[in-house]
């Protein structure tokens, strides 16, 4: 029973990660028409910055409390075996306070967002020169460059070993089975926030400007939109979101590995958006749930937990099957539902917009009353 609960928490957590990624890709591509096939680049940068900050700062705090000196390592100090020892035993030894764990989490997420935004701005440079398939390939290649460097160099995340003892926000909590549930709740909170944000944005003047740019760049320019600035903005926002998703993944797994950020991860996000329908945020959540389910449930041990036993040779093929299914989904959706399974809805006036209008109205009335 506990296994099942862990599995479902896992699913919810991965759902959150994919949902935030997919919402951001949808903002960039679905609304803005920018095919950011380097999603994983910004996700990884968020993961690296959050992971290294939490590991480094956590190590400082924990080692000073414990009185253990961890220095003299050639690479980043948090990659040393002593660092691993200190960080992995910090909670049981009481070297780090619960408040410190939470603080590390908050700081990591904030740093990730900042780093993501900054690199999103830098990453918007190719969009000034390129569009369409060539832009997609360029961004994909940039993501691979960062992954290859991270995989082979001690900086930032301890080369191919990865950074394996990142302090997680609920590490201090005794009931380990509940930790995942807590984290799942936390990540759903983030997802809801981002959902509301993108939903709001999609129907805002900015969102309409993005769509105008997507539908016809020239027309958008004629209408006075600065499309270069719009692309910069959407990539800053989208990349900050992707970076936060990366950070949230790190604080769940307690580790960062460069190979988590292979191009396949971007493809998963693209499939999630395609499944849900381009420029359709609700649909995108459904797509993210499906991709997360494939990720979490489609392996022998998960199925075992759910009471399904699979023969050995099927078990070895299952993890690969996930990508075969994704590939087939991509082609079928493109062939039969190029706009996604749930097509884009016309701009509506959601309750938030109404609320804003109401507030504005009240404001105007009050102002009018004030001047009287």
């Amino acid at each position: 029973m506990e296994g099942v609960s862990i599995l479902f928490s896992q699913w919810v957590i991965w759902f959150g990660v994919y949902a935030i990624m997919a919402l951001s890709f949808n903002l960039e591509y679905g609304y803005g028409g920018v095919p950011n096939f380097g999603k994983v680049l910004f996700m990884s940068l968020g993961a690296y910055s959050a992971g290294t900050l939490a590991a480094w700062l956590g190590l400082q705090w924990a080692s000073s409390k414990a009185g253990i000196a961890v220095a003299g390592y050639t690479g980043p100090v948090y990659c040393s075996p002593e660092a691993y020892h200190v960080l992995s035993t910090a909670s049981s030894q009481g070297w780090l306070e619960p408040s410190q764990y939470i603080l590390l989490f908050v700081a990591g997420v904030i740093l990730a967002a900042i780093v993501g935004a900054v690199f999103g701005a830098i990453g918007s440079y190719p969009t000034l020169r390129l569009g369409g398939d060539f832009l997609a390939i360029t961004l994909l290649a940039l993501g691979e460059i960062v992954r290859l460097i991270a995989y082979n160099s001690e900086w930032p995340v301890c080369s191919f070993n990865g950074l394996t003892a990142v302090p997680t926000p609920f590490a201090w909590y005794e009931n380990k089975a509940l930790v995942d549930v807590l984290y799942a709740v936390l990540i759903i909170g983030f997802t809801v926030l981002f959902y509301i944000y993108t939903h709001y944005v999609a129907n805002s003047p900015w969102g309409r400007a993005l769509k105008a740019m997507r539908d016809d760049e020239l027309v958008a320019q004629v209408y006075g939109y600065n499309t270069a600035k719009l692309r910069l903005q959407v990539l800053v926002v989208g990349s900050a979101m992707a970076a936060v998703a990366g950070a949230l993944l790190v604080f769940y797994a307690g580790s960062v590995q460069a190979n988590t950020f292979k191009p396949e991860r971007t493809f998963e996000v693209i499939v999630a958006v395609m499944l849900g329908g381009v420029a359709n945020n609700i649909g995108v959540l459904v797509g993210a749930a499906v991709i997360a389910a494939l990720n979490v449930f489609l392996n022998a041990s998960a199925l075992e937990t759910l009471g399904i036993t699979v023969p050995g040779n099927v078990a070895t093929t299952l993890p690969y099957l996930r990508y075969v299914i994704m590939g087939i989904l991509i082609v079928i959706i493109l062939l039969y539902k190029p706009q996604g399974l749930i097509p884009e809805k016309p701009v509506q006036t959601p309750f938030l917009e109404k609320l804003r209008a109401l507030i504005k109205e009240k404001h105007v009335v009050e102002e009018a009353a004030g001047t009287k």
């Binding site: 082979n152 493809f267 395609m274 690969y320 990508y323």
Partner: protein, 315 residues
């Protein structure tokens, strides 16, 4: 003082760069052909190479073939399987999408999907059968000339270089002199008018995929003749191949020369990097990636084109 061992090392890197570079160029030829005719930046292309390599390996080992005749049979198997994989991916995915008016970006996404299907089904199968996760032809590349006991020229060098040059010339002649080649260009340039001119564009398309896939199969065969193949071999080379093709402006001669430049740069830079700076040679793909990014961004029409044929303007 540069010592002699380092000079030999550089020489060896040059020679091996020639081999791997011609291989990249050879691989880029099929990608270029398919791109020129169908405008698909085909990410599934890498898998045709892998499939070709595996077909050669399986044909030889399953039938216990030996010697040159065995190699010839393996080559035939590689050509057939890769061409079939290419043809099938067009018939099942790309052609129907193109008929529906898909954009190059959609075709790119579709090719990613097709590539995932091909690569991961191979991974799944290879995981089941023993010895398939690392395969190489039983008849190995052999040394022809030894240089100072460090560097050497092997049969695989000769095969890779001559195949690359031969096929580039052949394709160039086909494209500019033969009826089918001109029909390919006509189909690419204006498909409706091509039909109006009496060209069966679907047949032309099929021929294109068979030749493009066949080239991938040939490259896969050469690859398996020297290297160990795993189900991800093609995929791992794809960015090199794309870099060669884009740097070559999607022209045949340009692809070969760019492939050579990239291959030699890879070998020489990683040799010097590891000798003088202790750099990990695993960084070398960064060379291809950076080339790809720079070319796409600043010279999307290619650096080395050697052909006046205009390409449709992208962006």
């Amino acid at each position: 003082m540069v010592d002699v061992a380092i000079l030999y090392g550089i020489l060896g890197a040059l020679i091996n760069g020639l081999r791997v570079g011609s291989l990249y160029g050879l691989m880029a030829l099929g990608l270029t052909l398919i791109y020129r005719v169908t405008s698909i930046p085909n990410f599934a292309y890498a898998e045709y190479i892998t499939y070709g390599a595996y077909a050669a390996y399986i044909a030889m080992t399953a039938l216990a073939l030996k010697g040159t005749l065995g190699l010839a049979f393996a080559l035939a198997a590689a050509l057939a399987v890769a061409a079939l994989a290419a043809l099938a991916s067009d018939e099942l995915a790309f052609k129907p999408l193109w008929v529906r008016g898909a954009s190059p970006l959609h075709l790119l996404v579709a090719s990613i999907g097709v590539g995932l299907v091909l690569r991961y089904s191979l991974l799944a199968v290879a995981g089941l059968a023993a010895g398939l996760l690392e395969a190489s032809l039983p008849v190995r590349s052999t040394r022809l000339i030894s240089i100072g006991g460090i560097a050497s020229i092997e049969t695989s060098h000769v095969l890779a270089v001559s195949a690359a040059v031969f096929f580039a010339v052949l394709l160039r002649i086909m494209f500019t002199r033969t009826k089918i080649g001109k029909a390919m260009r006509a189909t690419a340039s204006n498909p409706v008018l091509a039909r109006v001119s009496g060209i069966n564009i679907y047949l032309v398309r099929r021929v294109t995929w068979i030749i493009g896939g066949g080239l991938a199969g040939f490259a896969g065969f050469v690859y398996a003749y020297y290297y160990y193949v795993n189900p991800e071999s093609g995929w791992l080379m794809l960015l090199w191949i794309f870099a060669a093709a884009t740097m070559g402006g999607f022209t045949f001669y340009g692809s070969i020369i760019s492939g050579l430049i990239l291959g030699i740069a890879e070998q020489v830079i990683s040799f010097l990097g590891s000798t003088y700076f202790g750099l990990n040679t695993a960084y070398s793909p960064v060379i291809a990636l950076i080339t790809l990014v720079i070319v796409l961004m600043y010279r999307p029409e290619g650096v080395i084109r050697l052909e006046a044929l205009s390409l449709k303007k992208r962006v």
